[in-house]
């Protein structure tokens, strides 16, 4: 587009503020411009994923330095960290549905736990002995129904999601305990006995993929993703649409390849004290699949677009003819569904279900992970990848503190995780204020 001579420049726009809010990939024509746009954005308070990457580096450096024998950086501990992180990541992606809609769901921990408990109960050979597929479906279905009921109450009766899901948290906690007490397990149904279906659930977290197969699978994923990014970016560049410069597409693909290589390398190191234990745990492809599916849902479908619109300006969405109640209700349903996946992995990690599941604590971890990753508590901003990045940070803290004899007690975990959540919320609020104080027009 060329500027017409009679078209006066918009003198009233605040150029600094406007630049700060412009995503650098939208305006940059070259890598240099991109770096300049990005740094001006950081100064303007819109820092994107940079703080979370910095936090990760800091966590790795600090805990490696202070953990006994630098055990934090050992392959065994890092794989352990990935497994713990998987639960936080998926729970944070679940919370992402509520947060993007401008709501909150405090019930995710125990609602997910209901689903996990149902699945673990159903596959018990001594009682129902279901096949693992229908057992998982039944568990996730229960979660989804619970979420849809909460969503219906919130949207149809216009109740605040905070209160409805707080009530849901208590109710779900009670139902969860009831489900646990079913059968002859005294409230501790576990996955450690004999039986193929038990084993499948247990191996969601503990099963490993053969190292060679891991490499091939990782290579296939990287090549497929790389081709997808490269082809779509270069097609957009050719047809004159807004697209990042070629060097940036290459850097993006390169980073995906490096992350995949690092993860597979770590997992393929023999981490057993005696014998051999190596390979990528199944949980990693599970997390990647959830991330991929939800990224497509959020970024590339009408449903996702409408969630962002509702979180940004619900009235605008309503006037655009969007069925706001339906989208929000479905959002709460999918939030609870995803929470079910997370807590199923948690059950697998624990090797069973018991009343020790910290459903309340996990909600806070989920919110913290999503917000640390870059999802806004104020609605309309956030992506599934933010849950993954934030989940890694939370797991890093959780795991690192466990390794320190002086700080491994649960009270320190609470305090430090609470402080991290607080820091994330402050960054979110301050960056939002910084962004809005500059632009004149923001309501």
């Amino acid at each position: 587009m060329t500027v017409q001579p009679e078209e006066l420049p918009d003198l009233t726009a605040a150029p600094e503020a406007a630049r700060a809010e412009l995503p650098p990939e939208v305006v940059a024509q070259s890598l240099g411009e991109y770096v300049r746009a990005y740094s001006s954005r950081i100064r303007g308070g819109e820092s994107g994923v940079l703080p979370v990457i910095a936090a990760m580096v800091a966590i790795v450096l600090v805990f490696t330095a202070i953990s006994p024998n630098h055990v934090f950086i050992s392959a065994g501990n890092l794989v352990n960290l990935f497994q713990q992180a998987a639960v936080f990541m998926i729970l944070a992606m679940a919370e992402g549905f509520a947060l993007v809609l401008g709501e909150i769901d405090l019930s995710v921990g125990f609602v997910g736990a209901i689903g996990a408990a149902i699945t673990v109960q159903l596959v018990q050979p001594s009682t129902t002995n279901w096949h693992w597929i229908p057992a998982i479906i039944a568990g996730l279905l229960a979660c989804t129904v619970f979420g849809l009921i909460q969503g219906t109450l919130i949207t149809r009766l216009r109740l605040p999601s905070f209160i409805v899901t707080l009530a849901g948290y208590l109710i779900a906690n009670g139902i969860f305990l009831d489900v646990l007490l079913l059968g002859p397990f005294s409230g501790y149904p576990n996955l450690l006995g004999q039986g193929n279906n038990l084993a499948v659930i247990y191996h969601l977290m503990w099963g490993t993929i053969d190292p060679t197969v891991s490499w091939i699978a990782a290579a296939v994923v990287v090549v497929a993703l790389g081709l997808l990014i490269w082809l779509s970016d270069s097609r957009r560049r050719k047809s004159g649409l807004v697209a990042p410069p070629a060097s940036l597409s290459l850097i993006k693909i390169g980073m995906i390849a490096v992350v995949a290589a690092v993860v597979v390398t770590i997992c393929d190191i023999n981490r057993a004290n005696i014998g051999t234990l190596a390979g990528v745990p199944w949980v990693i492809p599970i997390v990647v699949s959830v991330l991929g599916a939800w990224t497509i849902l959020f970024q590339r479908t009408k449903f996702g677009r409408y969630m962002y619109a509702i979180g940004g300006n619900a009235e605008a969405a309503r006037r655009a003819g969007i069925n706001v109640s339906l989208i929000r209700t479905l959002g709460f349903g999918l939030c609870s569904f995803t929470a079910g996946v997370a807590m199923l992995l948690y059950a697998s990690l624990l090797g069973g279900m018991s009343n020790n599941v910290g459903g309340g604590q996990y909600v806070l971890y989920a919110v913290a992970a999503a917000v640390i990753g870059g999802t806004s508590l104020f609605g309309g901003r956030g992506k599934p990848i933010h849950g993954v990045l934030g989940g890694l940070v939370i797991a890093g803290i959780y795991n690192g503190l466990y390794l320190l004899p002086q700080l491994s007690s649960v009270e320190w975990q609470y305090i430090i995780t609470g402080l991290v959540l607080l820091a994330a919320v402050i960054i979110d609020a301050v960056s939002r204020r910084g962004a809005s104080s500059g632009s004149v027009t923001r309501a």
Partner: protein
């Protein structure tokens, strides 16, 4: 320019106006908000709707836009009687309203806002490329050229640019009548200029435009026709050239004019 327009308007009406309202009544409980309102909105003309606070401007707008249902009276669209029962009905006919608060989602970019609720989909996924191309074409045809990138979030736009995006969103859907509620309120001088130019371009494309405004300077600048509401009644509607600042203020405050040779109180 102004006199040419007047000449066209004075010529015997061979074609029906795009939207014709006859004897429209609307009351809320005991309050008669609109009483026997007759209004014509012809294509290719900017009609300014003026009136003091409480004169019924918003109610009339909402009756046209399908938000309110009139109690009595008839609405003719291209000569045919119609009942606009919802905003959907209105946009199906080709009536789009740009409200004062613009109804844009700050967190979405320009393309996403322009297609909100009517996204193009290919194989179940959003067809971003085709939407971006269409949005760029519409903005270019309206000569909205000050935005740096149509992929920037609406939060980063100035007030005038936001207004332009809201208008572009409205005209994108083959609309024939665009209603704008206070389009220049809260805008600076340069931005007001941009928006008024944009309104003229809509007219030049043959759209009917109805502008609701308190700003008489803007009205005289952009309007071909002026209609004044006074306490729920249409006090006057005529070509803009028949009015001056004083008569229009008189109509707005008293419903009539003391001067002779003013515009007709009953429109042609």
């Amino acid at each position: 320019m102004q006199s040419d327009m007047a000449a066209v308007a004075n010529a015997p009406a061979t074609t029906e106006p795009l939207l014709k309202i006859r004897e429209l009544d609307k009351h809320f409980g005991p309050v008669q908000a609109l009483y026997h309102v007759d209004l014509d909105l012809p294509s290719g003309k900017v009609t300014a709707l003026c009136g003091d606070n409480g004169a019924g401007k918003s109610v009339l707008t909402k009756c046209i836009a399908g938000i309110y249902q009139p109690d009595h009276g008839q609405v003719f669209w291209e000569g045919h009687p119609v009942h606009v029962r919802s905003a959907r009905d209105a946009s199906r006919l080709g009536i789009e309203t740009v409200y004062q608060d613009l109804a844009l989602a700050d967190n979405l970019d320009i393309v996403q806002n322009m297609f909100l609720g009517r996204e193009r989909v290919r194989l179940g996924l959003l067809d971003e490329d085709s939407m971006e191309r269409a949005a760029a074409e519409t903005l270019a045809s309206l000569r909205v050229t000050t935005v740096r990138s149509i992929r920037q979030p609406v939060a980063s736009l100035s007030g005038g640019q936001r207004q332009s995006v809201a208008v572009a969103k409205a005209v994108m859907w083959n609309s024939k009548l665009v209603i704008m509620d206070e389009p220049t309120a809260a805008l600076g001088v340069v931005q007001t200029r941009q928006v008024l130019d944009l309104i003229k371009r809509l007219r030049d494309r043959g759209l009917a435009v109805m502008v609701i405004s308190h700003n008489l300077t803007d009205i005289f600048e952009v309007a071909d026709r002026i209609a004044v509401l006074y306490l729920g009644r249409l006090a006057v509607q005529d070509d803009a050239s028949k009015f001056d600042l004083q008569t229009i203020v008189e109509y707005m405050t008293t419903g009539g004019t003391s001067r002779t040779g003013g515009p007709n109180t009953k429109a042609s």
